[in-house]
């Protein structure tokens, strides 16, 4: 796994305790990581229990109460169409969790096998996978995500209509597909590079060569001996990357390519409120900072968690 490096090269004795327990223990003794864990857990709970938690329907409009400041009836105020912001934000958690989980699955599903194959087999497999990753890296990050989302969206809509799924095309669900594809296609390259590097480092170890010598099938060697050892940095990178996914979803919605209202998303709440309405009613800054701080808190939380995992998985002497 990761090489423990003591300060100034001093040899300290190895400790005989279960490594999993130690990682969890270190994580639980790290206050920022605990806060991060709490925020993420709260977000997931909101996502699961959105119908029970939200006081109003996320798309219930009432123009007579538009743009109200926070009050006992509407804790986070109301937006330009008189929709309850708290309800929209709670439902927004569901969109965020859904997008994050799906993008993560796409990233992992592409990045880990491709990276592992590149590292393990080398040769042309490595060349093809790594050059493809290079190409993706050369594309300008966010711009390319927007570009893909913008160009595949009409294609997907046309395809759905032609397949006779008119209802699906008109519902907001295809927006999710667009966001997930755009973010998923980009994100695997970094993971693949990381997994490949880890596999290269582990490949020459005695136990892997031993397994090869006694004829263990290749996929089993990769799955059982190599991947678990490559896991630590992947977990760290992933937990930090999840915040970026949440941000990118927000930016996509801001450009009008992501999730469209009335579907609730923190990105489109923020972009609606910060974009058009705030310019007209600048004194209503709370319309911006409430959804903004919540999105920031989630990105914060994933970063704290990633930092905490990093320190827990790569223990150094810390006072």
């Amino acid at each position: 796994m990761t090489q423990t490096r003591s300060p100034a090269g001093i040899d300290l004795p190895h400790r005989a305790r279960s490594p999993q327990r130690r990682v969890v223990g270190r994580l639980l003794r790290n206050p920022p990581a605990l806060i991060g864990l709490g925020v993420v857990a709260a977000m997931i709970l909101c996502a699961i229990f959105a119908p029970q938690l939200a006081p109003y329907a996320y798309d219930a409009q009432d123009l007579s109460i538009a743009r109200q400041a926070p009050s006992p009836a509407h804790w986070f105020g109301t937006d330009d169409l008189g929709r309850d912001m708290l309800s929209r934000i709670i439902w927004g958690a569901r969109s965020a969790v859904f997008v994050i989980v799906m993008v993560m699955i796409v990233n992992l599903g592409l990045g880990v096998p491709l990276g592992a194959a590149a590292g393990y087999f080398g040769g042309w497999v490595e060349t093809v996978v790594m050059r493809a990753a290079d190409i993706l890296f050369a594309f300008p990050g966010l711009l390319f995500v927007f570009f893909i989302a913008a160009t595949i969206k009409p294609a997907i809509l046309t395809w759905a209509r032609e397949a006779g799924w008119r209802d699906l095309a008109n519902s907001g669900y295809l927006d999710y597909a667009v966001v997930i594809i755009a973010l998923g296609v980009i994100g695997w390259a970094g993971l693949a590079r990381m997994v490949r590097a880890q596999v290269l480092a582990v490949k020459e170890r005695e136990y892997v060569i031993g397994a090869q010598a006694i004829g263990v099938p290749t996929w089993k060697i990769i799955a059982r001996h190599i991947l678990p050892n490559a896991l630590a940095p992947v977990i760290v990178a992933l937990s930090m990357g999840l915040g970026d996914i949440a941000l990118s979803e927000g930016y996509l919605s801001f450009l009008g390519i992501g999730l469209q209202p009335p579907a609730p998303s923190w990105g489109n709440i923020l972009s609606d409120n910060a974009g058009r309405y705030w310019r007209m009613f600048p004194q209503m800054i709370w319309m911006v900072w409430i959804p903004g701080l919540i999105l920031a808190a989630v990105v914060f939380a994933f970063n704290f968690l990633g930092d905490g995992l990093n320190e827990a998985l790569n223990p150094e002497l810390v006072d």
């Binding site: 290079d134 711009l143 570009f147 990105g267 900072w289 920031a296 990105v299 006072d319």
Partner: protein
């Protein structure tokens, strides 16, 4: 080193080929048909057919692609279809570049000037309250969405705030401290640039601080630092002569790569503040599906990325003597 360079130089055109192919397939050949975009949804189908033929959009993919590349190699990146109708894309971008480059230069400069010392301090005082503060600051820098920072910082800095305290019979007015950009772009030496540059620099500061902190912590644990201390050197000398240079090598790399990003405007910032740069141009183009502009921008940024990578690899040897002689 020589073989490595040759491989890099061969790779460059291949990379550009794939990038242009993908962008072309997605943007111009694909669903965002330029003629459709140009004419709008309610155009006469016959007119569209005629225009498609006139522009050559009814020809096979490879013909269209080769023609596009052939033109691009001669500096002709097509014409804007929507907002700046019929203006050459090359000229649009060239006109917009100065504002973006000025903004980015200032943002990177601020990022280095603030991030490097901050990371150094935090790393040297690891786990102190200062370190915790800096780390929280770094995470904040990468966590606050730009679409949040834009209105909030604008609210704070470019509006007048009236503080009225009736009890103390006091009324104070503050600001606006910084002007919004609106109107003519006045370049580096004007107050207009400060707010957008500050927002753009939050990410740079975070990256620089994080790298510097991690770098100095790693270097301070190296054996040669112990050797330097064993000689009886003062801690200041240990840090500035022995540690700093080693820790700055990755900073220089990141900086080199960022220079490639100089030509990429931040569309969220530029659009919000009305900076007449390539970011705002791309934003408009994306929103209106003006794909000749978007394609040229993607290509420009990709070329800048690859070239800056190459330059970083070439200059690396000057920074790190271990690589110089290999």
């Amino acid at each position: 080193m020589g073989a490595f360079l040759v491989r890099r130089l061969i790779w460059l055109p291949i990379l550009l080929f794939f990038i242009s192919l993908i962008t072309f397939a997605l943007g111009l050949y694909g669903p965002g048909d330029p003629v459709q975009v140009m004419m709008g949804l309610h155009a006469n189908p016959e007119t569209i057919e005629r225009l498609r033929h006139e522009y050559g959009f009814d020809q096979p993919f490879y013909v269209q692609y080769l023609r596009y590349i052939g033109n691009a190699l001669q500096g002709n990146f097509g014409y804007s279809l929507v907002k700046y109708r019929d203006q050459p894309v090359g000229k649009l971008i060239a006109d917009a570049l100065p504002a973006t480059i000025q903004l980015n230069l200032l943002a990177i400069g601020l990022g280095v000037l603030i991030g490097v010392p901050l990371g150094l301090l935090a790393g040297l005082n690891r786990d102190s309250w200062l370190d915790l503060l800096v780390r929280a600051f770094v995470i904040a820098g990468i966590s606050f969405p730009i679409i949040f920072l834009n209105p909030v910082l604008t609210f704070i800095f470019s509006r007048r705030h009236d503080l009225i305290l009736p009890a103390a019979n006091l009324a104070v007015s503050v600001g606006p401290i910084l002007p919004m950009v609106q109107g003519r772009w006045e370049g580096l030496l004007s107050a207009k640039i400060i707010l957008p540059a500050l927002i753009e620099s939050t990410g740079v500061i975070a990256i620089m601080t994080r790298q510097m902190r991690a770098g100095i912590i790693e270097v301070m644990n190296e054996d040669f630092i112990r050797t330097a201390r064993a000689k009886g050197l003062r801690e200041r000398l240990v840090i500035f002569r022995h540690a700093l240079r080693n820790a700055l090598i990755p900073i220089a790399t990141i900086l080199g790569l960022m220079l490639g990003g100089l030509v990429a405007g931040s569309f969220l910032v530029e659009n919000w503040f009305g900076v007449p740069g390539v970011g705002a141009l791309t934003f408009d183009a994306l929103s209106s599906r003006d794909y000749y502009v978007v394609m040229a921008m993607v290509l420009l940024i990709a070329v800048a990325y690859v070239v800056s990578n190459l330059i970083v690899d070439l200059t690396y040897g000057y920074l790190d003597p271990r690589i110089r002689k290999q």
